[in-house]
């Protein structure tokens, strides 16, 4: 008979939601085990290499659903390892959104003011820093200049990249080999380890069951190091508290699969999924017009031709983040880098005479790839994603040995979502086609549906039990002792990059989770400083012993 291990707190996933929980609970004295289904890589293992099997296919996950495809992290550090580290706070109006339920969808206890101190903590921990125009890469500068030319504004966006260490290689999606990107591998996770937390990579949690003592048993399988389609033996660990932070594409799947052993889940588990209203447009710049109209030039006499250079998104236009506009008409427009390989097939030829995403005209468009500028729309969608029955294991039926699989999410954008996209497409076209600067087309949704790099809301917090799976302390309704702290807990689209908000909500949930652990007999205290020992960011937050 297999021996069942036990711990105080079992954390599923090691992205923002998991790492922050692991740190605070371990620092407070609890025994913490983190199960992460992906590999544990460090800087020197992050490759600049497109070959299948290099770090980008090991740490990235691309799950094709029915009408929506998700991109996310699959490694120790989760999304923080593959993300572009763009870290704005969500605008004030976001917290007042009604969404699809006709009333405020955030808990009454949370608004921008109440979340700001928690944002401060995360900003101190990573850290997040304000960016200067002097170090904005060409693509961001071009977007800013085009916005200004069209009478708009544009901002360098706060970032968790240490710009002085950055080589502007644009390989962030494969992990940062220079440690310039301040992923969780550099702050919360090493601090959690220093306090005795244990992180086990290649451990994929499949389901939960109950133990006699009112705790939970977490059942996992070991994922093969190279071929993720292959699962080896498994095991189980008992815990008094479980923190589920597998990501918005996986957390609801694990909970759904646990229904036969845990009992019924709240109706909102696996519903109200939001793709953060995301959509991309690609512009092909006319280099001569960039020089003539915007007056831009760079080394070598070029005007732009620098799609490859930079560090993901660095400049955003926030003109439509206007609280006076109706819901579903507000969005940000952010310059983005998308590497070759995965995304270029979805980019469409503007005004194509033949097929828009393949063929002769597409090849011509690809030849001008260095003159592409990709603009990222983050808008207000309608939380219309629903997860179907879970696959046998994991959150997808894996097609490739790494990265690519088919998942159970179904997404049919409503008229509200589609209208927001259309307004944003038109705004981008107005800015970038002005005076012949560029030709622009949105990416097609016909191949893999809509797509998001910021899956949210599939197991969300709220005050209404009918439309939220978690209470405002992130506890799963009807299953005391299970908490969810990842992107699935965010109630809806944020109109900006969500990582800082996910992390701030996780920080905010920690005092309550520590209290729940205490009530279950765990000797743990709340009150750890920032992972490097700093305390400035926590002074505004009332500590609870």
């Amino acid at each position: 008979m297999t021996t069942i291990e036990s711990t105080d707190v079992l954390v599923i996933g090691s992205g923002f939601g998991g790492a922050i929980a692991a740190y605070h609970l371990a620092a407070g004295g609890a025994r913490v085990v983190v199960l992460e289904r992906g590999p544990w890589l460090t800087a020197e293992e992050f490759d600049h290499d497109f070959k299948l099997g290099s770090s980008y296919t090991r740490v990235f996950d691309f799950v094709v659903g029915d009408g929506m495809s998700l991109l996310g992290g699959n490694c120790v550090g989760g999304g923080s390892v593959v993300y572009f580290a763009t870290m704005p706070r969500a605008p004030r109006f976001v917290f007042e959104r009604m969404g699809s339920i006709g009333r405020r969808m955030w808990p009454a206890s949370i608004d921008r003011d109440s979340l700001d101190p928690w944002y401060d903590r995360v900003a101190e921990a990573l850290p997040v820093t304000q960016q200067s125009w002097e170090k904005v890469p060409y693509a961001g500068g071009l977007w800013a200049a085009a916005c200004a030319h069209a009478g708009r504004t544009a901002n360098p966006v706060p970032s968790a990249v240490d710009v002085d260490m950055c080589t502007n290689c644009n390989w962030m999606m494969a992990g940062c080999r220079f440690d310039a990107k301040r992923s969780l591998l550099l702050n919360y996770l090493p601090a959690a380890l220093a306090h005795g937390a244990e992180i086990r990579p290649m451990h994929e949690v499949q389901h939960l069951s109950r133990t006699d003592g009112g705790g939970y048993r977490v059942h996992y399988r070991i994922v093969d190091d190279e071929d993720y389609r292959v699962l080896h033996g498994g095991g189980a660990i008992d815990a008094k508290i479980v923190v589920v932070a597998a990501g918005a594409g996986a957390t609801p799947v694990i909970l759904q699969r646990s229904e036969p052993t845990l009992g019924p889940m709240p109706a909102a588990v696996g519903r109200y999924f939001s793709g953060n209203g995301e959509r991309l447009n690609t512009a092909i710049l006319d280099e001569d017009r960039v020089r003539e109209v915007l007056g831009l030039s760079r080394a070598g006499g070029l005007a732009y031709a620098a799609n490859q250079i930079g560090r993901g998104p660095t400049v955003a236009s926030w003109d439509k983040l206007d609280a006076s506009l109706p819901e579903y008409e507000r969005f940000s427009l952010e310059q983005l880098y998308f590497p070759p390989g995965l995304g270029t097939i979805l980019a469409q030829v503007p005004d194509a005479a033949g097929p828009s995403w393949f063929g002769v005209e597409k090849k011509e468009m690809l030849r001008r790839w260095q003159s592409w500028l990709t603009i990222f729309i983050m808008s207000e969608d309608d939380n219309e994603g629903v997860f179907g029955p879970p696959p046998d294991t994991g959150n997808a039926v894996r097609l490739s040995q790494q990265m690519l699989g088919h998942g159970p999410l179904r997404y049919r954008p409503t008229a509200n979502t589609r209208r927001g996209w259309a307004l944003a497409d038109a705004e981008i076209k107005d800015i970038l086609e002005r005076d012949g600067l560029a030709r622009v087309a949105p990416w097609t949704n016909d191949l893999v549906g809509a797509y998001t790099v910021h899956p949210l809301a599939s197991c969300r917090i709220g005050d209404d039990p009918a439309t939220s799976a978690l209470d405002d302390r992130h506890e799963l309704r009807g299953h005391p002792g299970i908490f969810v702290t990842d992107g699935s807990a965010v109630p809806g689209g944020l109109t900006v990059n969500p990582a800082l908000t996910i992390a701030a909500l996780a920080e905010r949930a920690m005092p309550g989770i520590v209290r729940a652990a205490q009530e279950r007999g765990v000797a743990v205290r709340y009150g750890a400083p920032s992972p490097d020992g700093s305390t400035a960011g926590r002074r505004a937050v009332v500590p609870t012993a």
Binding site: P88, T153, Q401, D446
Partner: protein, 189 residues
Amino acid sequence: MQPGDTDGVRAKNLTIEAFADTIIPGEKRSPDDRAVAGAAPGGGAVAAGAVELLEQPGGGLAPALESLALGLNAHAQQYADERGVTLDGDVPAFVALPFAERTALVQRLTAPDHPERPMWVGLALFSNMAFDSAAHMNTVEAFESAHPGLLAIGYFPPNAKGLFEFDEFSYGYPLSPIHPQTTPMGDPA
């Protein structure tokens, strides 16, 4: 034909090549090249290594390539029959289609309402990846062998360390007024 090749393997390879060439077209490798239609100058997905990438065991499509080729040729024959076109029997049906007809058939197979769309989109995705990222090769080696796709998109080559690092990266001065309600930390209000 290489020793050990069978007609079935040859038919499969020709068919998959013709599909990849429809996604990213290229110039013919020889005057009698049938799979590559020659619809665009320079190397296309086939020269970029689409078949090599699709045959990688880790990609997931390798075991399905034979049935994909059979399915594609059945669709091509049906497409030709609908139009009263007689295909020459020397090559598989899809290969026998002119480039414009291959294109029209791929549009039909990848349309949102086609029941087989996911598998044809998958085949297209890998064909495209071979061209724009050489995903079957180390990127450094791809540059050493003058990979036609990476060269075509103008991807800057790696430095002597095999890495991508750019000392020159910024115009270096403010290029837009910022939003009037930006917070002192640089966030949206």
